[in-house]
Amino acid sequence: MDLSVRIGSLRLKTPIMSASGCFGYGVEYADVVDLSTLGAVVVKGLFLKERAGHPPPRIVETPAGMLNAIGLQGIGVHRFVREKLPELRAKGATVIVNICGTTIDEYVEVARVLSEAEGVAAIELNISCPNIKEGGITFGCHLGNTHDVVSAVRRATPLPLIPKLTPNVTDVASFAQAAEEAGADAVSLVNTFLAMAIDVETRRPRLSNGMGGLSGPAIRPIAVRMVYECARRVRIPIIGMGGITSAADVLEFLIAGATAVQVGTATFVDPFIFGKLESGLRDYMSRHAIERVAELVGTLEMPGGTRR
């Protein structure tokens, strides 16, 4: 049985990765999870410099989901390369680094630093964080800006480049196309939905930042739809995510058109989830006599009368 998939020049052992911001820098889990068994460890969004992030409360639970406004607290790319990357390499992890910037130059510089480091498998370009003004949403919600930042980073790095798209747009597939045209090797989606929860007793938001990003099972049906739409409009691989908690959910994304998936919120609930998802996927494949996981990708049979 072949679980491997290709994202540009990169070959992943399995299609199942951790999602950025939901698995720290990966090293936090090195004792309990064999990081080398994951398709990839996608690390927390990194700016060039350290960032404090937002004051707490930073999360709040909502029906079948959660809001977060962490504010991209992080150690910056240089400390990451010095302090975390060696351990990730030692553990045999395939490392994808999620990068952020407030300007195109910053994205480019972060990408450059990572390209020179040893042990980075790919770059995920975060142009979709809804939680900070400069978190890229300014890039991720305008086609022209998306094209510009992807092109610029494309020129700066030979690493596989994966822009991460925001779902907070009218036509996500047009952003996937813009990324493809600008030279992306793949796109990943979805980041979180901009959302808000109010404490009606105090009449204040429940998050210190006011708004936050919705993730978890609640958003899965929207995320699956968006992956399906993108898969029909671009030829580069798609990395799907949003509310995956079971092997059936992984399969939904693959069948909708994702070549690989990421698991975010569900890792909070179960840090041991990766092994369970992989074995569920294997069970399904043997039940359906599917030899290579790649055969499943985009196999959704849409009814004739459908509207899209």
Binding site: F23, D31, A52, P56, R58, G65, I70
Partner: protein, 274 residues
């Protein structure tokens, strides 16, 4: 190294409408627990509530031969998750991830240990009291609640030789007022030797008051914090608390990894934006 155990409820002792002590069978967790550590409990199987809930370990449970077989929690019902736990009956199982977090540091030999608990902040002091007994140090527990009916498990501590100082805000049991009132008085009254190590767990306003007393008298003080947690494993950066950096600045530390127990002197108490 934390493990995930599908832990059976062994007992649930209701203390009042809102409070209960609930015991879980989880040998793999029980053996490794250190005082001050916590477990992340999944209160439902489905998607609501989605996230696990953090609970301090109350008692370490042992079998007839003294081998650790599980742990209990001291649960207050405040919302959906804690309600599901409070309704649990023996035989039900809950996924429990633990033990997690940095435990208390034991005091230097010869020190007295003064523990300060507000409400469910009592929880970590059962195991700490036992561990401290081995050291032979004098142990005092200042324990406060809103009202006398919410001072639970006092008889859990007296038999093991912990001196109890009780306080209630409405004066229905023990001294009247916040628990920091008798604490301040006793601290002022002591001669200076033997040295005292302070340990506190409870509402942040109480922790902050205890930290201020510790600073005033130059005492070591550890506080067990209870920030909102998403994962308990260092993955989500939701549980942060502002701490001082060596350079004199502040930074947000993950209380699940660097805490929940912190040295009170390290904490910057005004980090929360409300």
């Amino acid at each position: 190294m934390p493990v995930d155990v599908d832990a059976e409820v062994l007992f649930s002792t209701r203390l009042s409408d809102d409070y209960a002590v609930i015991g879980f069978r989880a040998p793999a967790i029980a053996g490794a627990i250190r005082p001050g550590q916590f477990v992340m409990i999944r209160t439902a199987r489905g998607d609501v509530p989605l996230l696990r809930r953090p609970y301090s370990v109350f008692d370490r449970l042992r079998d007839a031969d003294g081998r650790p077989v599980g742990f209990s929690i001291f649960n207050k019902r405040v919302g959906t998750g804690s309600r599901l736990l409070s309704e649990a009956t023996p035989g039900a199982t809950f996924s429990c991830l633990g033990p997690l977090g940095r435990p208390f540091t034991l005091p230097r030999a010869g020190s007295e240990a003064w523990m300060v608990a507000g409400g469910t902040g009592l929880a970590p002091f059962a195991t700490l009291s036992e561990e401290l007994a081995a050291e032979g140090a004098r142990r005092r527990l200042f324990y406060g609640a809103r009202t006398g009916a919410e001072l639970f498990c006092v008889d859990r501590f007296e038999p093991i030789g912990v001196d109890m100082v009780l306080a209630t805000e409405d004066g229905t049991r023990g001294e009247t007022g916040r628990v920091t009132v008798p604490l301040a008085r006793e601290l002022a009254a002591r001669s200076g030797a033997p040295p005292v190590a302070l340990y506190a767990c409870g509402p942040e306003a109480m922790l902050q008051a205890v930290a201020a007393l510790a600073a005033r008298y130059g005492l070591t003080c550890e506080v067990a914090t209870e920030r909102r947690m998403g994962c308990g494993m260092g993955g989500c950066y939701s549980c942060v608390i502002a701490v001082r950096t060596p350079a004199g600045g502040t930074r947000f530390a993950r209380s699940c990894l660097e805490g929940p127990v912190f040295s009170a002197a390290d904490i910057v108490w005004d980090d929360v934006d409300r």
